[in-house]
Amino acid sequence: MGEADEPLTRHHVTDLGGGSFQIALEGELDLSTADAVRDAVENTINSVTETLVLELSGLRFADSSAIALWVTWSQRVPRVEIRHAQPMILRVIQTMGLSGRLNPR
């Protein structure tokens, strides 16, 4: 499989039980891919009744569209937790005053 065929953003959903789910995001998430990811995990977002965990250790780039997407998820689920975000992504979340909303760890 050549590089041209590999999707820019990969996502992987895990049911954590008790109404919590984890979405692992890998690669790069920006305007061109945010809509596709949003549509792909729509059902998962609808199923979250506790915490939505975003596992970002494999995400090497996220722009304001990505953050806007996570923010809209945070309005639909009781709690969002971001884990293992790269320092650059963490810094943008902090600068935008969203630490209290997205709970990065």
Binding site: S64, S65, V71, L98
Partner: protein
Amino acid sequence: MDERGLARWSYRWVWVVLSVGALFTAALAIVSGDLAASNERHLLRLRSKEVAAVLTGALPDIETPLGAAVALANLTGADPAKFTRFARNYVGAKDQFVSMSVWRRGDYGGGPVIVAGSPPELPETPGGAAPILRAASHRTAAHNALTVRGLLSATQRRVAYVYAGSDAGRFLVEAEAALPRDTYTRTPPGSAYSNINVAVYIGTRPQPDRLLLRTTHRMPLPGAHATTTIPFGSNHLTVVISARQPLEGRLPEELPWLVAIFGALITAGAAVLTFRLVSGGRRAGALAAENRRLYGEQREIAQSLQHALLPDAAPEIEGLELAAVYDAGAPGVDIGGDWYDMIRLSSRRLLLVVGDVSGRGIRAAAAMATLRSAIQYAAQVDPPEDFLPTLSGLRSLRNEGQIATVLCVMIDLQEQRVDITSAGHLPPLLVHDGHSRYLETEVGLPIGIDTDSQYVTQGFDIPDGASLLAFTDGLIERHGESLDEGLERLRSAGENAPGDLEAMITWILDEVRGSNSVDDTAIAGVKWAKRTNH
């Protein structure tokens, strides 16, 4: 058959083959020329629809200040001082309107009760102002509430807008916008519209006496053109566009000629081969892909007009230099949602706003326009920490799942002091005496998340001769670089920048921003003059 007869037969065959070849070639040239032309027409139609859609998007920029003006007039019983102070934001030689006036509902004979700016020319239109104002006073339904009339004659070149607000109000507001004297307006160099001619008419038909403005001297528009009519308040706008250069670019235009030249050089067999290459699957597929890309490109070009509506001339204030720029970033990329605004609230206060709506394209541009208008109105009534939370209720943001970061810098014109409120936005840079630092405050949530969010406003005293620059992250963002690195780059550039405010902004834009930056950016700056006595 004798020898001469044979020779004649051979020649005949050669002629037959050559004529068939020529016929094929001619047919192909015509067909591919036809394809290119119909593609061109299709693209033109698409562009005209988009220009028209963007013009419709300008309606909130007219309705919002007029709605606020009517409310103000009704609430204050048409207090002249309050009205003219409010109108100063919107009325002036370089502003949106050249005239704004208040009329008493039902009593039009005596003329306007208050006039801001130049006197209204509505009374001079054939039939006078009364019939138009009377009709306008009945127009209070939501989508049709704005009355739009062209004041077009040998001596007049204006568009008049009348807004009545509710049925119960005692007053109407009429505003007039000036059109270029000979209707000609130059397309700004480098604008996305530089490859098309645009003519805008008021009404449903492109009649010469209803022309509002045009971007070319050659009228009627030369060549193939496309026309679109859209509702505009109580009236309509008709947009006609034609291409200055072929919209598709050079290859499809030259294809017919290439085919003709190619075919002429070889025989019928080669012509058949050409036919296969031109109309076969691969070529058609490549053309289709090219068309899809071009359609996408045409869409985003229309949105750049929204940014063309950003205030060009900053309000003139003694003791202060004001300058701002919006830079769209790499061409061929969807427009972004960055903007700036400068709102004069009173003789003592000026509000500088810089904002960034998430996403790109028409969604971002539309949300930006709505947000900008809402802030212009809300700022008249409440301080930023009070109106920012309410903006999160704006339907246009919520519907598209967008958020926006906004920075409000409230400038106190007497005390040389600013009050800063940040909704998720980067801090402004203060440059003074070869030193620069960011004025950091507690950052509240971006707009579009929570109507109960809290915002903190913090005040800073400004030293004499200092400059303050508010900007969006498009200025400093570089792929692979952390935000802090970009902020430091801007900070040290500020220390080396030229002193004149406009020169400083231009220099910083060149220095700090990547030359292949994809993101758009807005920068708004204010510079305090050095005071001679304290």
